[in-house]
Amino acid sequence: MKGTSLELDGVSVQYGNTTALEAVSLSISAGERVGLVGPSGSGKTTLLRLLNGSVLPDQGDVHVSGSPLYTLSRTDLRRVRASIGFVYQDHRLVPNLQVSQNVIAGQLGRVSLLKSLRMMLFPSRVMVEKAHEILCRVGIGEKLFERTDHLSGGQQQRVAIARALFQEPQVLLADEPVSSVDPARAKDAVELLTRISREENLTLVMSLHNLDLAREYCERLIGLRRGRIVFDEPTSSIQESHFSELYRIGEGEMLADGA
């Protein structure tokens, strides 16, 4: 089976006094390509992080492929997480490791400690070739043995994508995959993620600030505003008015945001 379904069921997330998400329910079926849009602070990152079990919801449940994420045992949670690739806004690579090591680290969730030691310190030829192949696919094959923090922001982002792919995931989650690159590359990165998810039939959920890109590459868009879902529709039925509603500045909001 390729692709995995994702489900949020009345989920609320609270950070101290801030409500990041409030009673959010949605269901994404296997192989869907979904865009998350919404103003800054609307809860996009929080929603994505819920989906791989790195934020604990105060209410509600998260299901991945039918399993309730937060009731799984540690071992089962590891297994589910191993099938979910996450491309972070800030990359989250280990800065002083080689690019190849960061990519190979994508598979840690699938191997024992002993095997992972060998894999990280003395990777087999097959491993390195596979990492190289994926890096070529994201366009930076020649950086295989460079130190990761010597790469530019855009290149590091590609390493992050390569790490997620090396994981051989069923689901790809991407948080603002375009924030650290110039507009032309932004399009490349989104294109790349969409192409890969189509080729391998992966479920793809990405948050995007760029509405044109969101419309062009996603088949379904979910609009978030102040932690609530404003719309959730196929891209074809999305109108300009949906977006203006989403980014409308509400009463007192300017003040609240400025504070």
Partner: protein
């Protein structure tokens, strides 16, 4: 904070009744000091004893072989200490388990693991490393000498235990101070706590950990030399013997050998650190 420190200082100062006049030494003492200092530039190359028994090894041989013993004790103590430091350091850092949600909504063993076992291991290892650290290696030496007599094991343990505790404390702090985002990312991709510790947290702290270990090795050389005062055949033993027989030239020879060893290590650790720098 600074005020507290000043109050503590003034209090300690008046409590101990420190006064400059106390330092006025006896004229005899000054003379010894002068004689000792005078030999700084002319260390002995051969034995200065009035009577050298048949079969006594030459001075330089003694200096170098006791330097070797010093090095061996330091190396043995330090490697055992490193082992203890790495193992206890792992348990006394929080970054590899804090904030993970595995099994949080279960009333099962996996919940107990995260909520009870790890915090208990953490607390326990902190207590242990503080017990190890709070006693100086010289006091450990006295303790082990009483227990085991003048055996090499006693000397090695006396170094390994306090050093292991200190290394564990510093290692865990260095690891916990690194950025945790890469670790969270691997965690989110299914890596275990030990895996995130080994491949996301430790690599970032590793240059500092190596630099610090070199520094502690230098300290271990000095501690090992000092253990000679208790009769172990390290440089300290011969320094004490020569000093009490007033052969100051010999004392300087031994001191220079120790200094040389420390300098070599300092140079080596500098070279390694330069290689690890970004």
């Amino acid at each position: 904070m600074i005020l507290c420190l000043m109050i503590a200082f003034v209090w300690a100062y008046s409590h101990l009744g420190l006064r400059g006049e106390d330092l006025h030494p006896s004229s005899g003492g000054l003379k010894v000091l002068g004689e000792f200092a005078a030999r700084a530039l002319t260390p002995a190359l051969t034995s200065e004893a009035d009577f050298v028994p048949e079969g006594t090894r030459p001075l330089l041989y003694i200096a170098l072989s006791s330097a070797r013993t010093t090095l061996f004790f330091a190396a043995a103590g330090m490697s055992l200490g490193l082992f203890l430091g790495i193992v206890l350091g792992f348990f006394s850092s929080t970054s590899w388990w804090a904030g993970d949600f595995g099994g949080v909504r279960r009333s099962s063993p996996s919940r107990i693991l995260g909520r009870v076992l790890f915090p208990v291991l953490y607390g326990g290892s902190r207590v242990i490393i503080n017990l190890m650290r709070s006693t100086h290696e010289v006091l450990w030496a006295v303790l082990f000498l009483t227990a085991f007599g003048l055996s090499n094991t006693a000397a090695v343990l006396a170094i390994a235990i306090p050093y292991g505790g200190t290394l564990a404390k510093i290692f865990s702090e260095m690891v916990d101070e690194t950025t945790r985002e890469p670790a969270h990312a691997l965690r989110g991709a299914g890596a275990s706590g030990l895996q995130t510790y080994s491949f996301a947290l430790v690599p970032q702290a590793l240059p500092d950990m190596i630099g610090y270990s070199f520094y502690r090795f230098e300290c271990a050389l000095r501690s090992s030399a000092i253990l000679g005062f208790f009769g172990f055949p390290t440089l300290g033993l011969f320094i004490r013997q020569s000093f009490s027989s007033l052969n100051y030239g010999e004392v300087w020879t031994f001191l220079y050998v120790l200094l040389g060893m420390v300098l070599i290590f300092d140079w080596w650790s500098g070279a390694v650190r330069r290689r690890l720098a970004p």
